[in-house]
């Protein structure tokens, strides 16, 4: 009985990503869709930290950018196979998150926000400045992604890869949330002392989920780099960190599918607004404020509550 929402939701997701391309008239749609699914995967990871763990991060674009640059450099300069480069980058980013995570996650509220923001900005500045390695603000070209001699090329191939990735990410997230580890994590969000006294190592779990979400960001960053073929330091900017947090907040904190919905909506939004670029910041800021003031639970959980209420009152 209590297992059906997860399997049901997963089935709907698989159906949606499988059927969506039927409505894509041209390659451009595939391109936008790939970005939406990449963002969704990143947000599913970030939601584990922000939504379930209750710990804010305003520097996640930094981890994304490190994954992207790691893959670009390891494949381009050191000739590593892309998959090995992706895994190695993810490992390094995970290790970095582990090292900085312990002191950072002792902090709460504003302090945690500021510390993660600081880490993100420092990463961004390093990527911009060390141009001998990163190419600086001019950016860096990235080789195609290939596994065992098969090259992923063309928007369709990337779409299917991104689709499989998001389904796996959602599956892992759903597994985790409804497990001893996930419950401990949510308990940390609910009450840290309450969790401590029944044996939950709260610092340990906070660091764990910080590392997990950083690894998610790194993996997506690696794939994004290969798909785009070109990266600049701005993929790790403060603005980008805020954007991904907004996706999670909009879709619904502590909702795996909410994170997917938020990411897809915010990625598609520019496509629907003419001359969006001018208003991008205003819209993003407005969404952040509006969501927190009028539906702090986010889109999907609020919708679910509304439906539940409707069902109860005939």
């Amino acid at each position: 009985m209590w297992k059906s929402p997860r399997t049901g939701g997963l089935a709907v997701l698989v159906a949606l990503v499988t059927l969506a391309p039927l409505g894509f008239p041209n390659a451009y749609f595939y391109d936008v869709a790939v970005n939406a699914l990449f963002n969704a995967t990143l947000c599913v990871g970030l939601n584990l930290l922000v939504g379930y763990g209750g710990q804010i991060s305003l520097g996640h674009a930094g981890f994304f950018a490190l994954g992207a640059y790691g893959s670009a450099l390891l494949t381009g300069r050191y000739g590593l196979p892309p998959l090995a480069a992706l895994l190695l980058s993810a490992g390094v980013v995970g290790a970095l998150a582990f090292v900085v995570g312990r002191p950072i996650l002792k902090l709460k509220g504003h302090y945690l926000a500021m510390a993660t923001l600081g880490i993100g900005i420092i990463i961004h500045i390093v990527l911009k400045t060390e141009s001998a390695v990163t190419g600086g603000p001019d950016g860096l070209g990235v080789d195609a992604f290939s596994v065992a001699g098969l090259t992923v090329s063309g928007d369709q191939a990337w779409y299917w890869l991104a689709a499989v990735l998001v389904v796996i990410a959602v599956w892992l997230s759903l597994n985790l949330v409804d497990s001893p580890v996930g419950r401990a994590l949510r308990a940390v969000h609910g009450s840290e002392v309450g969790a401590e006294v029944v044996g939950v190592d709260t610092t340990g779990y906070k660091v764990l989920v910080f590392v997990v979400s950083a690894v998610f960001a790194s993996v997506v960053g690696s794939l994004f780099a290969h798909k785009n073929g070109f990266i600049t330091p701005d993929i790790g900017s403060f603005f980008r960190s805020i954007e991904v947090v907004t996706m999670v907040v909009l879709g619904g904190m502590a909702s795996t599918f909410g994170a997917v919905v938020g990411a897809v909506l915010l990625t598609l939004l520019p496509q629907f607004l003419a001359s969006f670029e001018d208003y991008e910041a205003m819209v993003l800021g407005g969404i952040m404020m509006g969501t927190m003031i009028f539906m702090p639970k986010g889109l999907l959980p609020s919708l679910r509550l509304l439906l539940a209420k409707r069902r109860r009152t005939p």
Binding site: I56, A113, A115, Y279
Partner: protein
């Protein structure tokens, strides 16, 4: 050698004065509401941009400056009324997201209202540098530091000598008790935002002739102001001033002697260091969570 050091010191104290004003802005709002206003930097940007536009349109500088300060204070009050007040009682993460949203919104609005170009103001009293022990000092730097000193003195008078100022201090010590004593706690919040906006606007106006300003200028200045406030000890007025000057000087020295490319990173390295090793800052109070 010494001249060089003095040069860095001058430039550090100048930017430090701006960070101090921003840091004070954080402290005032934090004390009256325990909200960290991540939009603090936008006040600096709005003050500078508004003055620059009005001066370019032909208004005399003093009038333009006053109008810009009033406009920025109006934005501050609006921020409190429409974004912070409705979310009263929300958890810290929610408030952080709201004020960051406000920051992004304001910078977007500035981009729409004005443009993406840099805007300048002429120096208030000429560009002839003063010479001092081999270092040069721009007269505008004196304006910056002077304005900061005047504003801080006014604030001190307000909080220690006026009834409303004292009421605000009382509220920051114990909100409930203040409320029971008949202090209008809500107006305290509004005034706190107005004051912070004023601090930001003044800083933005005096610094624009030196650094120029554009729609993006606020974020970095604001975040550095926050570093200043945390370094000094969140909620401590004197701490914010000392913290601001320290951040400014550290930044100037590091960019002079180490690498100018990493100038903007210094404030964040400092803040991480402070948060990891002395989270209550230089002058902050230590607290114990009550269970």
């Amino acid at each position: 050698m010494f001249a060089e050091f003095l040069q860095y010191l001058f430039s550090g104290l100048t930017s430090g004065a701006i960070y101090a004003l921003a840091g004070l802005g954080f402290a005032i709002i934090y004390n009256s509401s325990h909200v960290i206003n991540f939009a603090q930097g936008e006040f600096i940007m709005i003050g500078g941009m508004a003055t620059a536009t009005m001066v370019a349109a032909g208004l005399p500088l003093p009038l333009a400056a006053v109008l810009a300060v009033v406009a920025t204070m109006a934005v501050g009050v609006a921020l409190e009324k429409f974004a912070v007040e409705p979310a009263r009682g929300a958890d810290v993460t929610a408030i952080v997201i709201i004020t960051i949203g406000a920051s992004i919104f304001l910078r977007g609005a500035a981009q729409v209202l004005w443009d993406k170009e840099f805007h300048a103001l002429p120096a208030f009293s000429g560009d002839t540098p003063l010479r001092l022990a081999g270092a040069t000092l721009m007269p505008q730097s004196l304006w910056v530091v002077g304005a900061a000193v005047v504003v801080i003195a006014l604030l001190w008078w307000f909080f220690n000598r006026t009834l409303f100022g004292k009421a605000m201090l009382a509220t920051s010590h114990n909100r409930l008790a203040a409320q029971l004593m008949g202090i209008p706690v809500r107006s305290v919040l509004v005034v706190a935002f107005a004051l912070s906006a004023m601090l930001g606007a003044v800083g933005g106006i005096v610094v624009t002739p030196i650094t120029f300003t554009n729609y993006e200028a606020g974020i970095m200045l604001g975040l550095k102001g926050f570093s200043a406030a945390v370094l000094g000890g969140l909620g401590s007025g004197a701490g914010a001033i000392v913290g601001g000057l320290l951040v400014g000087v550290a930044e100037a020295l590091a960019s002079g002697y180490l690498s100018s490319a990493y100038k903007d990173a210094i404030a964040f390295v400092i803040i991480l260091f402070v948060l990891f090793f002395m989270p209550s800052g230089l002058f902050g109070k230590k607290g114990t969570d009550r269970v």
